[in-house]
Subunit: 397 residues, 2 copies
C-alpha cells in the first residue's frame, strides 16, 4: 500500500498553496535540485565532453525510457526519451503512416490536444495533398473507423473534461480495419494504469512535466511496439537514431529497435531532473494512485455540487471513465479561476468556460480537496471573482 | 579590447586539464549552477504553473534568440530558441522548400555534418519520391548551383577540418539561380563573426552547447530572414508557433514572424543555463575572439609541425579560411587522442584519421597551446599512444 504522506514529503510545495494543476506542471521533487547540481558541477563541470561516456549521458534517454516503460506496461527497450511531445507526435505519426503506404487518412477527434492536431496537419501538408487529417467528435471515433484510415491518433484522457477513451477497445477496432494507432498518454502516464502491451498500441507518446514531475520543458517519451520498432522509418532521421553515429557515414541507416526514434543531442540537464522525479515511483504503486485519485475527485465533485450551484460538472461522473482531474463549466470561469489563484488555489482555465482541477495523490490529499471546495464556494457566494483584475487575460492560462 | 583573463575566470575548468574540445561541448560557466538553481527552486518550486507568466518562461525562447541574434548579425525578433539542431535543420529546410514549390533538389556537400544530411534525407523521403538530396564535394558547390536547386544547405565551418565556406558569396550565387539558403552555424556562432543580414542568408540554424557554452543538450536556435518569416510554412506546426496558443483552436494558424518556428514546450532548465552562459558575451567582443583564435591556432600548428612530423595538417593553413579549430591527420589518430586525453589534453577524434583541437579564446590561452603541443610531441616520441587501452573504442569519440 502506497504511503501518500511519504510521497507528499518528497515534493517541495509552497506553503499555503493548494496546487491542483499537476496536470499542467507537476511540482518540484525535493531530490531534483541536488541531482541537477550534480549533473552541472560533477559531470559537465568536471568531465566535460567525456561525460557522454563517463556520466552515462549517452544512454540516459533509453535508461529513463525503461523507467517510464514500467509505468505504461511497455517492455524494456521499447521507450526512449527526447524532444518535445509535439515532435514525438510527428515522429510516431509519420512512422505509422509509412507502415500503411496504401492509405492516406489520419483519424483523430475534437477531444484531442489541439497541439497534436496541429502537428498532424503539418505532417499531412508535408506528405502532400493526398493526405488528410479527419477529425470527428470523440463519441463518433469508432463509427468513423473504416479501411481507408491509415492511423487512429487519439489522446486517452481529454485534456478539458478528463473523459477517458477505451484504449484497448479502440485499438482493437482500429486493427480490425487495418489501421495503426498512435496514443498520446500526456494525461495518463503517472495518472492511471496504462498497459500499452495488453492494449496492443502501436505507438504511444507522452510528456513528463505533468504527472511525472520533470519540470518545465522536461523531455517527451515515445513507445514503439516491438513488432514495429525495426521496420518503422523515421521521418526525423537524426544522428543519434543512426545505427553507428560515430562512423559519420554520409547516409542514414536507422539503428535497430527504439533507438532509431532518437533524433539530436538529448537535453541532459532536463533529464537529470526527470531521473530524480521518477524516484518517487519507487515508493508509489500506480493502482493505489488511481484508486486514491478517484476518491479525491469524487469528494471534490460532491462538495462543489453541494455548495456551488452555478457550476456544472463537465467531467464524467463515473470515476472509472475519467482521468485524474475534474472540470466544471462556468460562464465566468476565467475570472473565477483567477480569483481562486489569488487565494492560493491553483487550477487552470480552458476556453470557452472550463475550470479544471487536477488531483494528484502523490502530493494532494483530502485537506486540499476540502480547502479548495471551501474557497471556491466562498468566492462564488461573495461574488469576489467579479473584480476587474481577474478579468485581465495573461499569456498563459 | 576583450580581457581574456577575465572571461577565463568566468568558467569553471577542471584543475590540470587542457580543454581543447569546446567545439563539441563548452565548459561550465560559473554563473550557470546558481541560475539553474534559481529556476528550479525560486521559479518552478515556488511559482509552479504560474512561472510561465511570472518568471517569463514563455518569452525565454525569443529573449534568448535576441541575445544570440547579436552574435550572428540578426535583427531583434528574428531568432528563436528551441528543440535540437537536427529539428531546426528539418524545420528550416522544410520551410525553404515550401517557398520554392516548383523545385525539388536540396544541394549540400560532403563537408556538412552527417546529422544535417540525415535530416535532409528524412525530409526528402517524407516529401515524396520527387525530392532529392544532392551532395557534392565542398569545392564543387558553386559549380553545382543551377536553376533546379531549391535550397542550398551548408555548414559554414567543416566540423572535421575547420575549412570555412564563403557564406556571402555562396548565398549570392544561390540567389542568382533562384535558390534559397539554409546555413548551419554550429561551429560559427560564438567562434567567429557572422552576419546573416549582410550575407543575406535566408535561414540559419545552430546549437548552443559548443561555442555558446549552454551545457549538454542545450537548445538550438533558428534564424529566419525577416522577408520570409511571415510566409514560411512550418512543417512542424507546433502549438507554441500558433497565432493564439491559448485559444485552443482545432486548426493551425501560424503566428506572425519568428514565433511560428516555435514548436512544443521549451526546455526552461536548459535555457536558464544558456542565459547564464550568454552573460560571458557582455564582456567579450567577437572580433577580438576571432583574432585571438587565429593567433592560438597558428601557434599550435607551428609547434606541432616542428615537433610531430608524423602528423599532417588537415585544416587550412590560412587562418582566415579556418574556423576556431585545428585538425591533423594521423593514421593512429584514435589511440593517440586517447593517450592525450589520459594525459589531460582533451581534443577529439573524427573518423577515419582526424585529431581535432578546438581553440576557444574565452578560456584557452598560450599556456594551453604550449602545453598541449608539448604533451602531444611527448606521446608521439615515446610511442605511448600504442597501448592496448588506447585502442579500445568507446560510445562517444
Amino acid at each position: 500500500m502506497t504511503d501518500f504522506a511519504a510521497t507528499k514529503a518528497m515534493f517541495d510545495l509552497p506553503e499555503g498553496m493548494i496546487y491542483l494543476d499537476g496536470n499542467s506542471l507537476g511540482p518540484l521533487p525535493k531530490a531534483a535540485p541536488a541531482r541537477v547540481q550534480k549533473t552541472l558541477n560533477d559531470e559537465w563541470g568536471e568531465m566535460l565532453i567525456t561525460g557522454w561516456n563517463k556520466a552515462g549521458w549517452m544512454d540516459l534517454p533509453t535508461r529513463l525510457g525503461d523507467r517510464i516503460g514500467k509505468l505504461i506496461g511497455a517492455p524494456q527497450g521499447s521507450v526512449v526519451l527526447g524532444d518535445t511531445l509535439s515532435i514525438k507526435v510527428y515522429q510516431a505519426l509519420a512512422s505509422a503512416l509509412a507502415l500503411r503506404p496504401d492509405r492516406r487518412i489520419i483519424l483523430s477527434d475534437t477531444g484531442n490536444f489541439p497541439s497534436d492536431l496541429y502537428m498532424a496537419e503539418g505532417l499531412a501538408r508535408t506528405l502532400g495533398p493526398d493526405y488528410v487529417l479527419k477529425t470527428v467528435a470523440p463519441e463518433d471515433v469508432a463509427a468513423a473507423l473504416d479501411d481507408e484510415i491509415a492511423v487512429l491518433m487519439l489522446t486517452e484522457v481529454d485534456y478539458r473534461t478528463g473523459r477517458l477513451h477505451d484504449m484497448a477497445a479502440l485499438t482493437q477496432h482500429a486493427h480490425s480495419v487495418g489501421a495503426l494507432t498512435v496514443w498520446d498518454l500526456a494525461h495518463s502516464a503517472g495518472a492511471l494504469p496504462v498497459d500499452v502491451t495488453t492494449c496492443k498500441a502501436d505507438f504511444a507518446v507522452g510528456c513528463t512535466y505533468k504527472y511525472l514531475n520533470s519540470g518545465p520543458g522536461g523531455p517527451a517519451f515515445i513507445y514503439v511496439a516491438p513488432e514495429h520498432s525495426d521496420t518503422a522509418t523515421p521521418a526525423l532521421s537524426g544522428w543519434l537514431g543512426h545505427d553507428a553515429p560515430f562512423d559519420f557515414d554520409l547516409t542514414y541507416h536507422p539503428a535497430p529497435g527504439i533507438s532509431r526514434m532518437r533524433v539530436g543531442t538529448p537535453a541532459i540537464v532536463q533529464m537529470a531532473a526527470l531521473d530524480a522525479a521518477l524516484d518517487v515511483w519507487d515508493h508509489a504503486d500506480i493502482a493505489d494512485v488511481r484508486a486514491r485519485s478517484i476518491q479525491l475527485c469524487d469528494m471534490f465533485i460532491e462538495r462543489v455540487e453541494a455548495t456551488c450551484p452555478q457550476l456544472q460538472l463537465a467531467s464524467p461522473r463515473d470515476g472509472t471513465q475519467r482521468g485524474s482531474q475534474v472540470s466544471f463549466r462556468f460562464e465566468h470561469g476565467y475570472p473565477c479561476m483567477q480569483a481562486l489563484i489569488a487565494r492560493g488555489v491553483i487550477g487552470d482555465f480552458r476556453a470557452p468556460d472550463l475550470m479544471r482541477f487536477g488531483f494528484t495523490p502523490l502530493y494532494i490529499g483530502e485537506d486540499e480537496v476540502i480547502g479548495a471546495a471551501r474557497i471556491l464556494a466562498d468566492i462564488l457566494e461573495s461574488g469576489a471573482w467579479d473584480r476587474p483584475e481577474f478579468h485581465a487575460r495573461s499569456a498563459v492560462t
